[in-house]
Amino acid sequence: MVSDSIANASIPIAAKDFPRKKRANRSAKLKQCKLDARREQWLSQDAWRLVCSEFKCEVVRFVGYGSNYTSSVYMGPSEAKKSNKHLDVSGHAVMLTDHFESRNGTKFFYIQNSHGEDWRSGGYGKIVKNKGCKGEPDASVVVDAHNERGQSIENLEIMPREDMKVESVHPYSDLDSPSNSPTSHTSIALGSTVSGTNFSGSSGDSSSGSSWSGSVTGEDEEGDDECLDDWEAVADALAATNDKKKQHTNPSLEQHINAIDSPPELAHRPASQIVTSYPKPECVEKVQMVPPTGRAWKPDDTFRPQSLPNLSKQLSFPMNSGRHYGCGGVTWSSNNAPSLPSSCPICCEDLDFTDSTFLPCLCGFRLCLFCHKRILEEDGRCPGCRKQYNGGPIVGEATLDGGGLRLARSCSMIMRS
């Protein structure tokens, strides 16, 4: 995976100064806790719906971000059309975890991406709500330019809107590789996330409102099973919410937006060819892209992005397993896939990437570098098998699977004795 390679590249730096890394780790964890707490509080108030109706941005799609994640730009459909690149088809959903207002009055969404903690600030980012007022549907723009681990969210750069267009014109092929296919990640990896992607607003079908609310209630830690099981359901659900919104939309505003957003040549394309779509009622209405069927993409659609998985049920997608790696007991949001034991069994501190690739003993017992050093200074025996540590440690040789198996064995041995 791309994020893996990034993390690999950062090992030498990380190995150089443990303390700083450790501190960063801790602060990242703290931040995560805060975010989780805030999110829970927020969800408990049923604020999700509130945000949906207020900001009209229930699912945010990242469009055209680079493969190195140096920029992640959310673009509204209008921008996509302007740049005429069909960028919107590469829809990548992220989950809104919170919303807040900064001191200078800028409104943000906190988002969680599906790329694990290595993605920017522990997997979280911010999206600027562009104008930030009611009835302004064009929420847009993101965020930062770094893939630095543990980087504080507050330090993220916010791109001005002008830059957005430039940043977002990434070749579409960037998104084609399966490892990088954001749509296939998201709704599965985030579990019960309301992260529909790729909806061409089928405004007709209002009967599916139930599926929307269902996905909201599934927001909690219920797990993978609550995941939206159908792309169509997502599309329908969003369309249904859009319908509701449409009723409240100010017509003049709508006109205004349409004038800005929809170039005439795009407005009259046949429905089958319209590849850009967005849960924005104005677009749905004016452009009249109402697909004949309720589904988001037809399998034979020419413009169907390759990065999209097939329209079969997605429950069995392997990303499911990624969540199980994320160590039980920890909240759903820490899907730190690469680290099998999430914390050092000796000191209970979190294992960072260097630690989790550190395999000092053949028995497979893992521990953090600090504890290993400490043990070497004393009796020098592996806690897992009591054999003397000898020779240089084997760093980074264990694959995920191998490590997991061996770890399991060493654990069970401890239980027995």
Partner: protein
């Protein structure tokens, strides 16, 4: 006077290097205690979440480094129906060093002496930092039913172990539960 003054003015200058050279020691110590605390707290959590039957432990009121544990005798052993209190005291370099575990309730057992000291390899040379309170208590619980009569601390108990009926009577006779 001048020398004193000079010393006074020097102290701020010389203080930082001294402090910085001295600081690592105390900070390391506090960090250590913190990490031990963290470990003990997570052990406590794990123990309470595990729901193991027959064992329990909890720190004493004001000291996370001293725990009181209880073990109930396993079913189908001569210790069935009895409950033993133990004290666990954790060293500052726990888990790299084993905790001191003692029976508070007198226990008539080949590997427990009259003072409550336990002869259990994992509490001595076979200790591993991967063990925790839970595994210790489970080990002691299983030790009750399966003593090592080859190296007894209580020779009377060791010799009586062969006669389980008599042994059971002895256990009941000597059992003084702490309220």
């Amino acid at each position: 006077m001048t020398t004193i003054n000079r010393q006074d003015s020097n102290t701020p200058v010389t203080a930082p290097p001294i402090a910085s050279s001295k600081q690592p020691l105390p900070t390391v110590k506090t960090v250590d205690t913190q990490s031990v605390r963290k470990r003990l707290q997570s052990e406590l959590m794990a123990l309470m979440m595990s729901g193991d039957s027959g064992i329990s432990a909890f720190p004493e009121e004001d000291n996370l480094f001293n725990w009181k544990g209880t073990i109930s005798g396993s079913k189908d052993t001569v210790f069935e129906g009895t409950e033993y209190k133990l004290s666990l005291s954790f060293p500052n370099d726990y888990p790299f060093k084993s905790p001191k575990v003692k029976f508070e309730t007198s226990c008539f057992h080949p590997n427990v002496d009259v003072f409550g000291n336990i002869c259990l390899d994992i509490l001595q040379d076979k200790w591993s930092s991967a063990y925790d309170v839970r595994t210790i208590l489970i080990s002691i619980q299983s030790l009750l039913g399966e003593p090592n009569t080859a190296s007894p601390l209580n020779t009377q108990a060791a010799s009586l172990w062969g006669n389980q009926e008599e042994y059971r009577k002895m256990v009941e006779k000597l059992y003084k539960p702490v309220a």
